[in-house]
């Protein structure tokens, strides 16, 4: 079978046998899992990072800090696939819960990226001059207000490129959610391949879609960086 025939075959299957529907579903699930996962991760990560930079004289911050360390250690110490499988086949049955596989993927991606983002965020917060916190505290703002209004916005600016990489990593890692049966891009193209008895073109197209997504995200981050750099000195 020559390559032209393979492409024709793929296009035929893509259009006439609902291949495009599978791909659209897969694409939307992939994006959904990565984007919502990232948003959950940002919230969790910010909270954990804040807890980890609170001064630790008192008991409560110490306990919270210990808990956060444990959380980050667990999620960074195991592969995403394992977390997915454990959540889906161990944690949910134990809790007598039933959730669909996309929801489970979103939750696990959120929890997982929360651990990574907390570390990124902590580095970002520590990269902001401590004088910024003191400036806020010196005019009567609380620790958390100064954190939210002054320190974290500057930290976010510093870590935006790293966060972009985290998002790209999430997008790519969505390719493991079919382990728990979620319909992502991999599952869609695998479906096309299996039914058309031909894998070369489907997988090639899948790779292309991933690359296009990653390029788009990189572009988006560049634009965001530029708009955030307003507060820097204009030469």
């Amino acid at each position: 079978m020559n390559f032209d025939r393979k492409i024709e075959n793929f296009i035929a299957f893509f259009i006439h046998h609902d291949g495009y529907k599978e791909v659209l579903l897969g694409l939307s699930n992939t994006v959904k899992i990565a984007v919502i996962g990232l948003l959950i991760g940002i919230v969790i990560g910010t909270v954990i990072a804040t807890v980890r930079v609170i001064p630790k004289y008192k008991l409560l911050p110490r306990i919270l800090n210990g808990f956060c360390s444990l959380y980050v250690g667990l999620f960074r110490g195991t592969p995403m696939v394992v977390q997915l499988l454990v959540f889906y086949y161990v944690a949910l049955p134990l809790m007598h819960l039933k959730l669909d596989s996309v929801t489970v993927s979103i939750i696990v991606f959120g929890l997982n990226s929360g651990a990574y983002i907390s570390e990124i965020m902590r580095g970002g917060i520590q990269s902001v001059d401590y004088g910024q916190m003191e400036g806020g505290r010196s005019v009567g703002l609380s620790f958390s207000t100064t954190m939210m209004k002054i320190v974290i916005p500057q930290a976010v600016k510093n870590i935006l490129p790293t966060m972009g990489n985290e998002f790209i990593a999430l997008i790519k890692e969505t390719s493991v959610v079919s382990f728990v049966g979620a319909a992502d891009l991999y599952k869609a193209f695998n479906y096309i391949g299996t039914n058309s008895y031909e894998f070369m073109v489907p997988y090639l197209v899948m790779a292309l879609i991933y690359i296009v997504m990653v390029c788009l995200i990189s572009l988006l981050i560049k634009i965001m960086e530029r708009s955030l750099n307003k507060s820097d000195r204009h030469h």
Binding site: S138, V139, G140, L141, S231
Partner: protein
């Protein structure tokens, strides 16, 4: 206004302040001098509990603010601090720097008033958020006009000169209507030609009756503006007095040595 009673501060084993007593009255201008590492900054930072004292009391308006149970943020609105390195908010424009805390604090008070009105018969007047912002902006514009930087309202601090930054930092504190202002070497990080503009602004505040505690290496300022000068060394106030007497007729040897070196 502020009674500092037997203030102590250690960092681990390093005993930096070893029992400082001082009363600051309304309108006082207290200059604090002393050798490097003697604990001047630590002393100043303990006054508004930027550093938590390890012993003693700081009585401000009748409340011991060194007590960890006291909500220090409320009191810091009235004891503002100006730093050597300005510490302006880099992610806010000049006018936002000045407005930020007044607006947030007024909003906090507003929420408190609303909660109070919910449960009590005696109602507190509640201002609208729009009014709060309008008032804070008008006040910030007035303060910027005062220091001649109205045209810089919408630029970011990174574009200002050191002297301009410090003057903005001073009016950022002024916007809180503080009862006391603490200055930690406010001119030490400035190029010599910018020291004057900052000292002039501080002199203006002094003339208006602002209560100030100023850690400084500017002996001229201490002599001219302060009504009391403290010499801190080895974690205690070694000597204090009115500037004329203090500089003209120093008693202890440490102070004589120090003055011989810096004058």
């Amino acid at each position: 206004m502020i009674d500092i009673i037997d203030l102590k501060k250690s960092f681990g084993k390093n005993e930096v302040l070893r029992g400082i007593n001082l009363t600051v009255n309304k309108g006082d201008i207290v200059a604090v001098i002393g050798p490097s590492g003697s604990g001047k900054s630590t002393f100043l930072r303990c006054i508004n509990c930027m550093e938590d004292p390890t012993g003693g009391k700081i009585i401000f308006n009748g409340v011991d603010i060194a007590d960890p149970k006291v909500n220090i943020n409320i009191h810091r609105r009235k004891i503002c601090m100006v730093f050597q390195h300005f510490n302006l908010f880099n992610n806010k424009t000049v006018i936002q720097n000045i407005m930020l805390s007044p607006v947030i604090c007024a909003k906090q008070d507003r929420r408190k008033a609303l909660r109070h009105n919910l449960f009590h018969k005696d109602k507190i007047a509640v201002r609208s958020v729009a009014d709060i912002k309008k008032e804070a902006r008008a006040n910030a514009e007035r303060l910027l006009a005062r220091i001649g930087l109205s045209d810089k309202a919408n630029v970011y601090p990174s574009t200002l000169s050191g002297g301009q930054k410090q003057r903005v930092a001073i009016v950022r504190s002024l916007a809180m209507n503080p009862q006391v202002m603490l200055f930690d070497e406010p001119t030490s990080a400035l190029d010599p030609e910018m020291v004057g503009e900052v000292l002039d602004l501080m002199k203006e505040l002094a003339a208006e009756g602002m209560t100030m505690v100023v850690v400084t290496h500017e002996m001229g300022f201490a002599r001219e503006v302060a009504n009391r000068v403290l010499f801190i060394d080895e974690g205690v106030i070694m000597e204090q007095g009115e500037p004329a007497e203090f500089f003209g007729n120093p008693q202890c040897d440490r102070l004589k040595d120090f003055l011989a070196k810096v004058l």
